[in-house]
Subunit: 365 residues, 2 copies
């Protein structure tokens, strides 16, 4: 099947680029002596997770329990759920999941939650693996570093049905700092309290066998931290416009990884000053302040024009789109774009090689 036969809009993965991205990250963690547990919230696709593990990853990080359930059912192991699970129904699902995939890990940032997890795990006869989630400035989740973290770590260690494994600290505020040097400064400053907390844990005899963090923006920055054991970077496997623009060590764009994810659309209407494609705000992420970008298709600029329409402003009349033409776009943000599609078409050039289900799409629960 050829690209031009796929019903549009559709999500495409360039397999060559994707495989090179996996190989490059594998080489990076090998060279820096770190482990990798890439974030599957990026793709929500077990086929991709299996390939990340085959390339050397310990497993995958999952933002939510629902995602982890899908990954476990698909045979992926080494799961780390990076958001606290506090609802009673969620805690029951977590003990059940751990019964099926015993090495699953969860994070905690509150003593009430620690006690609730311990109680449910004891009742259900499982041991939950736990990381203490440290607040490193993102103003999201996490206990404050230092003494509050240590107190929480001790509480976890006291619970017979919990097994403390170490720490997590995700400095989301640093992921998209523009310019590699500025991002390095920001991330090292943000992560310093995590490293200091690691020392306190070690000094108190608490386990720090796992200290997890890092985004795609800081994959080669946080790997400089001696105390960090594993990277959670996710977007590197496909990249997106947002990460490309933050800049890399080598230049003004982050080109260490290749743009492997596109949305293919069809021109469904043409007029003197515009052409309309069948991909609108249900086809692309809309959380960034910049639009999708046409791939190797000069002469047009994309603008959102409703649920199902994108308006191509014709900036070069000699290259005006023709009715029925197929045009590919890079999405602004890969994670929420994957989350709009049930499947991704895996391409070698313009030929469809496989179709992978995005089986955890919509599983934010």
């Amino acid at each position: 099947m050829h690209r031009d036969e796929i019903p549009t809009p559709a999500l495409l993965l360039d397999r060559d680029r994707f495989e090179r991205n996996l190989a490059r990250m594998a080489a990076h963690v090998r060279n820096t002596g770190k482990a990798l547990r890439p974030h599957a919230k990026t793709h929500r696709c077990p086929e991709i997770a299996h390939r990340q593990v085959a390339a050397g990853a310990l497993g995958v990080a999952c933002a939510k329990l629902g995602e982890a359930e899908v990954m476990a059912r698909a045979g992926v192991r080494g799961l780390l759920i990076t958001t606290e699970v506090v609802a009673p129904g969620g805690i029951r699902r977590l003990t059940r999941l751990t019964g099926e995939a015993a090495d699953t890990m969860i994070v905690v940032d509150h003593p009430d939650n620690v006690r609730a997890l311990a109680s449910a795990a004891a009742e259900d006869g499982v041991t939950l693996n736990v990381l203490v989630d440290i607040h490193v400035g993102a103003r999201r989740t996490g206990v404050e570093p230092g003494e509050p973290a240590l107190a929480l770590g001790r509480l976890v260690a006291e619970q017979r049905a919990l097994r403390l494994r170490g720490l997590q600290g995700y400095a989301g505020q640093c992921a998209h700092v523009m310019g590699w040097a500025a991002r390095r400064d920001a991330s090292h400053k943000a992560m310093a309290p995590l490293m200091e907390t690691r020392e306190r844990f070690a000094g108190a005899g608490l386990p720090v066998e796992i200290v997890a963090g890092a985004s795609t923006g800081t994959y080669d920055i946080d790997s400089e931290l001696a105390g960090l054991t594993e990277l959670q970077s996710g977007s590197y496997c496909v990249m997106d416009l947002d990460y490309r623009r933050v800049g890399g060590r080598a230049g003004a764009a982050l080109t260490d990884f290749e743009m492997a994810l596109t949305v293919v659309s069809t021109v469904v209407s043409v007029a003197a000053d515009r052409a309309m494609v069948d991909a609108g705000l249900k086809a692309f992420s809309t959380d960034k302040p910049f639009p999708p970008e046409a791939v190797e298709r000069p002469g047009v600029e994309y603008g959102f024009a409703g649920d199902e329409h994108g308006r191509l402003t014709i900036v070069d009349a000699a290259r005006a789109p023709r009715l029925g033409e197929r045009i590919e776009f890079f999405p602004p943000h890969c994670d929420p774009t994957f989350n709009l599609y049930d499947r991704v078409w895996v391409m070698r050039g313009t030929a469809v090689e496989a179709v992978w289900e995005i089986a955890a799409r919509g599983r934010s629960d």
Copy 2:
């Protein structure tokens, strides 16, 4: 089952409000002598479509062929696909769909597409019902009104496998004009060329049995147009923050229809200055410049904080959220919010009464 047992984030429909919305629109079209073919792109849910038809609608409008296929398979008839279908594979699917649901209608805005439809319909032995899509200023799809529209109408009428039924004109640029009087002026001005084109069609002996248009913002404005036969308004059935703020005939907010759609979330982390809910940019539409709004929960303000997190800024310390608390939010924009969920929980108060599949979710193809 109680609301607080639903895995979160989850999409909730308040059934009482929803049913009152259907009844109010039914009364409006009855009183103004119009028909209703509400836009199912709003909800993508056959259960809702069936209830709209039971309340008097002729059928539903669908933005895309994929949506229409799901609706037809669920037994919904009277389908109008409001975007041109131009890809060869799409045209084949359209003739097949018309073979199953003979009253399905499609829109056209280009002579090449008219010929392609006619040729495929003749080969496949079906008659396609066609509306000419008129450009009424939205700079989206549609042939220019007046002479170009008339020429296209004549071309449709000449095709033995096509049956011309009339016109469509959707003035999307008017839907969210702030203030009812200003919106009325804008819409009447935009729709005037559609009405003039209707006269030309009638004068030329071309059918105008159907002249379709209108948004939820203009439902009681476009119904003033004598030549319009049916309304396509969609969001009225559940409403959203975006439509509420545009104002109604009676006041500064559009309150003719009630806010029936919410997302329920759980507080998963608390800190001195903030609380985090498990609903982020994969749980809500993100295409509008304003955030979700907490429902009857003073003291907090929602801000997006990543794929899976919303940050509640505590504006009233006496009302700080507690860990595990359930909080509901109105989404900014209903259509792309529905499109994130596989199901909607139908509520009578805080009790779950039913679960409806959003069967056409993701079917933008």
